[in-house]
């Protein structure tokens, strides 16, 4: 596979792959499997999908000229060949700078209610403009420089939006293209649709656990009309509690945001500093949002490792281990987090279910990831803690009772 900078596949190669995945279709129609009325509600009024807008957005998405040093495009960290993310712990931008956040996939983001893991952006059109200016991502000095880089597309902008090149329309065009990346046709969806044999017996058992003992469905609702598997809300599940002192960090964040309350500053702090760990708090300043991130969608989750906002969990087995012990104790832990007492068999069934949520067009990558993650999990399960998972040890007792039992 021909490669580009920062570990991404070559842009032309990606375009070719994309053409294979997503044959030419009428973009003004709702994607297959989605109700046209529901779909229409997700399209902004000022950015109706047209062929020209999508084509322009596609060009921009793969265009490294949008970055300061010409090495980074959207597709660098949202790579067609890597689940439309970069499958790295955290992403790498210009000058090989790495940030604090794991790149989420752009697949199906059209259906999200907020963008970025802390929900600091309301729409794809708005979101698409932020990385271009972020100093550690694409690093353009200002909007004018980004517009300058796109003057080659003057005609395409005119045709798409009826006006000259401008920054808002760069965001709109990229957003329009990203809205075409709807990949919801998973084996599991076929199972829900009535094909009992579309998924394995293990995956079916995992689905029962998902709705019951494993408690997943509380925050990850999945059904035919709502395929994403996210409640679009923000929860602290303890991932960031592993390496942060929330209180002092929150104080520093408020000070920094008090000095410069711009959304650009927020974008920089969230990506480049350890304040990233504060999550939703950076947006709302509400204490109860400390360490909370938007519930990840589950569609295509098998091909988007590593997991969590900081990419700290390498495999879906690790993800299950994390939940099985009730997350990491911290004062802001979501009330729904409980030790789950899942056995190894049940964890295996849960993982089988999660791998059945990948769109059939991405099945090859899904199989590759399953094998890869399984091998990695057999080697190491860093977050496995059966004592806590089965309540032989209660985290709060360590703290309050000096390890002694609270009972009798």
């Amino acid at each position: 596979m021909p490669m580009a900078a920062h570990g991404a596949a070559n842009m032309d190669y990606q375009l070719q792959e994309l053409a294979g995945l997503l044959p030419e279709a009428d973009v003004t129609e709702a994607p297959a499997g989605l109700d046209p009325v529901v779909w229409a509600a997700f399209i902004p009024k000022d950015n109706a999908l047209t062929r020209r807008r999508v084509e322009l957005g596609r060009k921009l998405y793969f265009d490294t000229r949008l970055s300061r040093d010409g090495t980074v495009s959207c597709a660098t960290c949202h790579d067609v060949t890597r689940g439309f993310t970069d499958q790295r712990k955290v992403s790498e931008g210009i000058k090989d700078q790495v940030g604090q956040r794991n790149a989420p996939t752009v697949l199906n983001t059209a259906l999200l209610e907020t963008l970025f893991l802390d929900g600091r952006s309301p729409t794809l059109d708005h979101q698409a403009k932020m990385p271009i200016l972020n100093p550690i991502e694409m690093g353009m000095p200002d909007e004018a420089a980004a517009v300058e880089a796109d003057l080659a597309y003057r005609k395409a902008f005119k045709e798409a939006y009826g006006r000259g090149v401008n920054y808002e329309d760069i965001g709109r065009a990229i957003g329009a293209f990203e809205r075409t990346l709807v990949f919801i046709d998973s084996p599991f969806r076929r199972f829900l649709g009535g094909d009992a044999r579309a998924v394995s017996a293990d995956a079916r058992a995992g689905w029962a656990l998902f709705n019951g003992k494993a408690r997943c469905v509380t925050c990850h609702p999945v059904n035919l009309s709502n395929p994403l598997g996210t409640d679009n809300r923000f929860h602290n599940i303890g991932v960031s509690a592993r390496h942060q002192n929330f209180e002092s960090l929150a104080r520093r964040a408020l000070k920094a945001l008090g000095e410069d309350p711009s959304e650009k500053k927020l974008d920089e702090l969230a990506l480049a500093t350890e304040m990233s760990e504060l999550g939703r708090f950076m947006v709302t300043k509400n204490r109860s949002d400390i360490g909370a991130f938007r519930t990840s969608m589950l569609l295509n989750v098998g091909i988007t490792p590593p997991y969590m906002h900081d990419g700290s969990l390498p495999t879906l087995w690790d993800v299950m281990d994390h939940y099985n012990k009730g997350g990491e104790p911290n004062p802001f832990l979501d009330g729904g987090m409980e030790p789950l007492a899942l056995t190894e068999t049940e964890i295996h069934q849960m993982v089988a279910f999660l791998f059945s949520l990948t769109d059939v067009r991405l099945a090859a990558e899904n199989r590759r990831q399953f094998a890869f993650q399984k091998a990695a999990a057999q080697k190491s399960r860093e977050f496995r803690d059966p004592d806590t998972a089965f309540r032989r040890k209660l985290a709060f007792e360590d703290r309050v009772m000096g390890g002694k039992s609270a009972d009798k």
Partner: protein, 367 residues
């Protein structure tokens, strides 16, 4: 059907909205304005306390105390979530900066008054940095009639003075003997009382003995003395079927009547609750364990109700809070809700009988 319950979808359709959320109607510009406004509003907000030195009433409070209430601890093999919730509340008050003058515990530390429940609560509360003041609730009491609680925390009825304010703690959950004649075991008695709507039990009351004590305790105070009274049940009659009720409320109110203004702070109801009867201003406390729904009748008009808690989030509607005490003894009541924006019921709100400083309507739509 016109006045019947309507789903979110129906409501949204009627207003031409997408049920997924109102942010869709925000243009980028208005979103930026909204976020700028939110940031500006938040600039003076510190995370560790709702440190609004000057409350909405505009005057600096004389001092502040924090509260935790209604933790309902169980044996750990039945439930350890409530223990973790109490621990969270302890963390909250310990991180208030500056520290509150004291932390008040509003009663119902245990679920069934058992030794190990109360001991667990005492061990967790040992972690509170500020001085701790305890009140008893019916869940702490009716297994051994207060033996263990007294052993751990002392007498349930007492008073003290702090920075010019007289504080009184009452044991307002006295019940008439319904158990002897029925030959109930201590645990049966406890479980009867613990059932919110178990009609076999009697109503709560303060009782003649404590009313006499209260009269004496307040005897020497001038009528303009700032006075704050704590009771586990509300010192008024809200809804008898759930014992949101004190049977001799009128008699206790009569003892308080000669004062210019009195604040009564109560636990038991697990919700945002505000009332005013004459010179008495009432505030409820949040529970760390669960929120009760509002009573179907008898709700005080002054209460701005919190919307129905999210059944998928066990923290929603729970929390702890602060009380900012002003020189005249009236208070700004801060509800620190764990899954919602903090809510302040300001002194000016009860003072103006709901005309000024109206608390914001709930930030979550009804279901």
């Amino acid at each position: 059907m016109k006045n019947g319950p309507r789903s979110d979808e129906t409501t949204c359709a009627g207003r031409g909205r997408h049920p997924a959320g109102s942010h869709r109607r925000l243009s980028r510009r208005s979103f930026m304005q909204a976020s700028a406004a939110a940031l500006a509003a938040a600039a003076s907000f510190t995370p560790v306390s709702v440190a609004r030195g000057a409350g909405p009433s505009g005057k600096d409070p004389a001092f502040r105390f924090a509260y935790i209430s209604d933790s309902h601890l169980y044996a750990k093999d039945l439930n350890d979530r409530f223990a973790r919730a109490l621990l969270r509340a302890v963390d909250d008050v310990n991180h208030l900066d500056p520290q509150p003058d004291f932390v008040f515990y509003g009663g119902d530390l245990a679920q069934l008054g058992q030794d190990h429940e109360l001991e667990l609560g005492a061990r967790i509360l040992e972690n509170v940095k500020a001085p701790l003041k305890m009140m008893v609730g019916e869940h702490d009491w009716y297994l051994d009639m207060g033996k263990k609680w007294r052993e751990l925390f002392g007498e349930p009825t007492y008073s003290w003075d702090h920075k010019g304010v007289h504080f009184v703690v009452l044991m307002s959950v006295v019940e008439r003997d319904f158990w002897t004649q029925r030959n109930l075991s201590p645990m049966e008695r406890m479980q009867t009382v613990a059932g919110l709507d178990n009609g076999m039990q009697s109503s709560f009351m303060v009782g003649a003995e404590q009313r006499e004590w209260l009269t004496k305790d307040l005897e020497k105070l001038p009528k303009n003395a700032p006075l704050i009274v704590f009771s586990h049940s509300p010192l008024y009659k809200l809804y008898k079927n759930w014992n949101f009720w004190t049977d001799d409320a009128e008699e206790v109110q009569a003892i308080l009547k000669r004062f210019d203004r009195v604040v009564v702070i109560h636990g038991h109801t697990h919700q945002v609750l505000t009332n005013r009867i004459g010179n008495i201003h009432f505030h409820g406390l949040l529970s760390t364990a669960w929120p009760w729904p509002y009573a179907p009748q008898g709700m005080p008009e002054l209460t701005v109700q919190m919307s129905r808690p999210d059944p998928f989030n066990p923290n929603d509607g729970c929390g702890d809070g602060e009380v900012h005490v002003h020189a005249d003894g009236l208070v700004d009541k801060v509800y620190n809700l764990w899954n919602r924006n903090p809510l302040i019921v300001a002194k000016g709100y009860t003072e103006s009988l709901g005309k000024k400083d109206v608390p914001p309507k709930p930030n979550r739509p009804g279901y």
